[in-house]
Amino acid sequence: MILYELIDFEILRVIWWLLLGVLLIGFALTDGFDMGVGALLPFVARTDLERRQAINTVGPVWEGNQVWFILGGGAIFAAWPPLYAVSFSGFYLAMFTVLAALILRPVGFKYRSKRESTAWRSAWDWALFVGGAVPALIFGVAVGNILVGVPFHLTPELIPMYDGPFYAKFFGLLNPFSLLAGLVSLAMLLQHGAAWLALKTDGMVETRARRFGPFFGYLAAVGFALAGVWLAVGIDGFAFAGEVVTDGPSNPLLSEVIRGGSWLDAYGDRPWIAIAPLMGFVGILMAARSFGGHGDLSPLLWSKLGIFGVISTVGLTMFPFILPSSVDPNASLTVWDSSSSHMTLFVMLVCTVIFMPLILAYTAWVYSVLWGKVTVEDIEDNSETVY
């Protein structure tokens, strides 16, 4: 089949790098507020009815939102197999923790209000808190580690190997810069969750969400700025040393990579990418400011812009690197040497072009059907059928 040669391998790789970003951002924008609501639950909702009110704002949509995560995993597998192989096994225990938290969460939503007992319900409230806060933190920590470099190397047969003792796969991740990145991610998603609650609830839950939201927003903005400074002064970047083949077979070991300079050099080479951090700051800060206003929707829209900006910043700053290796820079995974084959990328692109607009359309329809606030009265009236 020659059809796939309609689009250059190099261009397909860039498209799939962009789509990777789309999926991560889609996940953060949708599942992000689910996690935020979970993590905020003990603070913004005190009584059982209030908690049910908060939970039922995400009740009908968390399943669809979570698919962004599943699809993200599937798409990385299909389009970036070496990334899928190295990162998930390299972050093994961290991944397990995320999985455990993400498994707890749906079960918590669904099962919490199916029994009357207070002990049962408060246990699931904790599960929802953990299921929201822990992944939000770990995703940020993972991004921090990617910027610092991950200790893996590849054998000539491209078998991924990890250096250091097993616990390094968990505690080794918790270096100061990565913890800062985790904090940014957590604060950002907490603000996002608060923005969602401000839109979807009334009464005390809305009041508290509007009160807590700005705090997390400012925290995220400060953390994001600090991380930028830290990247400028404290962390070495990665760069190709010689000629780079951008349309050859995927084998990370074929290109030479050196460590040195700064990640922020990218802003000298491609000044236009500064728009990404700018959007991050504007979005987060405007969201924080708009909680006090009367608009229901504006905190959420600004928060979305902020998340979009922050995630794009990471991608654009690192391009073309995806997963640099701290111990063997040559093994670093980049856009040019860790994708699927030309044909697979093409086939997957065709599928995405067909199905992604459909997904966006029916997701939008579902949200529009569910439009409007969830009130305490709704919960009381439909106590048998809602979460």
Partner: protein
């Protein structure tokens, strides 16, 4: 058994996959049964059908959520525990998984929320469409997952790329229309339909035994028996199709299932029962049915089905050929562009057997240095342990026929005996509830354990696929999964039982309104209006 990273990883994968499959079959079948019930509701407007839709829908929801939750583990576990597998075949295997998300899972998960929360927000017809989209989404999910799995059994449409050291796709069409995948898909979803039918039948029978919710139970039995009968027949017929496909590509799996130690003159006999003995390479106390194996396996009287001993000899030859491919591959990698043409030719001539050289990696780092003894050992490794396969398969097939019997009986009573069911039959139906799960798990066991020692048949051995983790990593996650999954299982069963005991939720106002409207039609000759539903006790 020595517990190394490989064995622990296999144990973890088997455990989490089989656990996931406790929830999947019920989702596959119950989504359709619920959609059928809602269709009847929309067509007839009878509140009882809405009540049934909501009642079975609640049970569907409790089950669905654990299917989703445990599916997350599956999507990420390949990368976590099978890193080299993910690298080596991700170019092909990843695609159906991603398409599953794009095409099916997104649809089912987005609409399932609306199914539960949209009763008052949508028109009847729109809600019905949502119910069907959930059912279709679930079933399409299964299609893509089985395309991925089918490729592991029969790796078509791909070839090895020596530069990127992995398999790469050569034909998406072949991967999607892999006969093995198609046969497995229909067999698996039918098994899901049987599971849900037996579940609905069993729970309804329990209500009849207790004299509760009679109307709901009878109608549910009518749906379950018809749907279940068609599905039970399809499971067996298409299971046979799977067997036929296995003859064509996984001869060793077939030979192991049948305990066929040696090639028999065609048409081979089928061993009904017996005690396979791997040491002696024979099946003791075997009862044979002449000709039957040849007919099932080859659909002819003249084709031979090779036995285990002959297949091991063939594997030995392929290992020797694989070593030549491996030798050329290593040299090409070192010499890069300057590799002479004869090396490339040597590689191409033997590259189909490269995976067989990898079988030696268990014994020696460089397959080229393998001794004669190691080659023989590696060839013997291509035989999976026979007795578990032999028995698992026979129990599965036995259960398959039992489901047909059960469904025929209930279908007959429902349609020709005025919906009357003798108590022993109802008791039997209740006791049969766990049986489809047993059959489904055994089915997966046969398919995947029978694939050993390969993750991708003939291409990549399991021993090479595994991530380079430590025993501690595995012990932590294995302990975590066991604890966590056990708790979830107890919680799930507890909730299921609670909601089954509680019975359907009756919307009194709606039922009364309907009764009033249709009173003239319902009034019997003695002037009484019979209840639409048996009131909750």
């Amino acid at each position: 058994m020595e517990l190394d990273v490989l064995e622990l990883s296999r144990l973890q994968f088997a455990m989490t996959a089989m656990y996931h499959f406790l929830f999947v079959p019920l989702t596959l079948g119950l989504s359709i049964i619920v959609a059928i019930m809602e269709t009847v509701y929309v067509m007839t407007n009878r509140p009882i059908w809405r009540q049934m839709t909501k009642f079975w829908g609640t049970l569907f929801g409790i089950n669905f959520v654990l299917g989703v939750a445990t599916g997350i583990t599956m999507e990420f576990q390949f990368g976590m525990n099978w890193a080299y597998y993910s690298h080596y075949v991700g170019d092909i295997f990843g695609a159906p998984l991603a398409i599953e998300g794009l095409m099916a899972f997104f649809m089912e998960a987005t609409f399932v929320g609306l199914f539960f929360f949209g009763w008052d927000k949508l028109s009847k017809r729109a809600h019905l469409v949502v119910a069907w989209l959930v059912a279709i989404g679930s079933n399409f999910s299964a299609l893509w997952i089985l395309i991925a799995n089918g490729w592991m059994q029969n790796p078509v449409g791909a070839e090895f790329n020596p530069v990127s050291m992995r398999m790469e796709m050569t034909s998406f069409f072949e991967v999607v229309f892999n006969e093995v995948a198609q046969a497995k898909f229909v067999h698996t979803v039918s098994a899901g339909y049987v599971t849900a039918s037996v579940f609905v039948l069993g729970v309804s029978s329990w209500y009849l035994l207790k004299g509760r919710h009679i109307d709901l139970a009878r109608r549910s039995i009518a749906v379950a028996a018809s749907f279940g009968l068609a599905s039970a027949l399809s499971v067996v017929v298409l299971g046979d199709e799977s067997g036929y496909e296995a003859t064509l590509n996984q001869k060793m799996k077939l030979a192991a299932i049948e305990g066929m130690w040696h090639t028999e003159p065609a048409p081979a006999s089928f061993t009904l029962v017996g005690f396979p003995d791997s040491e002696a390479r024979e099946t003791h106390y075997a009862i044979h049915i002449p000709w039957m194996m040849g007919l099932i396996g080859t659909r002819s009287l003249t084709e031979e089905i090779p036995g285990i001993t002959e297949l091991v000899e063939a594997a030995e030859g392929r290992i020797r050929s694989g070593i030549l491919a491996y030798d050329a591959l290593v040299q090409i990698r070192e010499l890069k562009e300057s590799a002479p043409a004869n090396l490339t030719a040597q590689f191409e001539a033997h590259s189909d057997d490269l995976g067989y050289a990898f079988l030696l990696k268990r014994y020696v780092d460089d397959p080229r240095e393998a001794t004669e003894e190691q080659i023989v050992m590696a060839a013997n490794d291509t035989v999976p342990t026979v007795w578990p396969l032999f028995w698992a398969f026979r129990i599965m097939v036995g259960l398959g026929f039992a489901f047909i019997g059960l469904m025929v009986y209930f279908f007959y009573r429902a349609n020709w005996k005025g919906m009357t069911f003798p108590r022993p039959a109802l008791h039997l139906a209740v006791w049969m509830i766990p049986a489809p799960w047993i059959a489904a798990e055994l089915g997966w066991f046969v398919a995947e354990y029978g694939r050993q020692p390969w993750t991708v048949d003939g291409v990549l051995p399991t021993a090479m696929s595994v991530s380079h983790l430590t025993i501690s990593d595995l012990l932590i996650t294995l302990a975590g999964f066991i604890t966590f999954y056990t708790i979830l299982f107890v919680v799930e069963i507890g909730l299921m039982l609670k909601y089954i005991r509680k019975g359907p939720y009756m919307d009194v106002a709606e039922t009364d309104a309907w009764m009033e409207k249709h009173e003239h039609r319902l009034r019997t000759h003695d002037g009484r209006v019979p209840g639409i539903s048996t009131p909750a006790e």
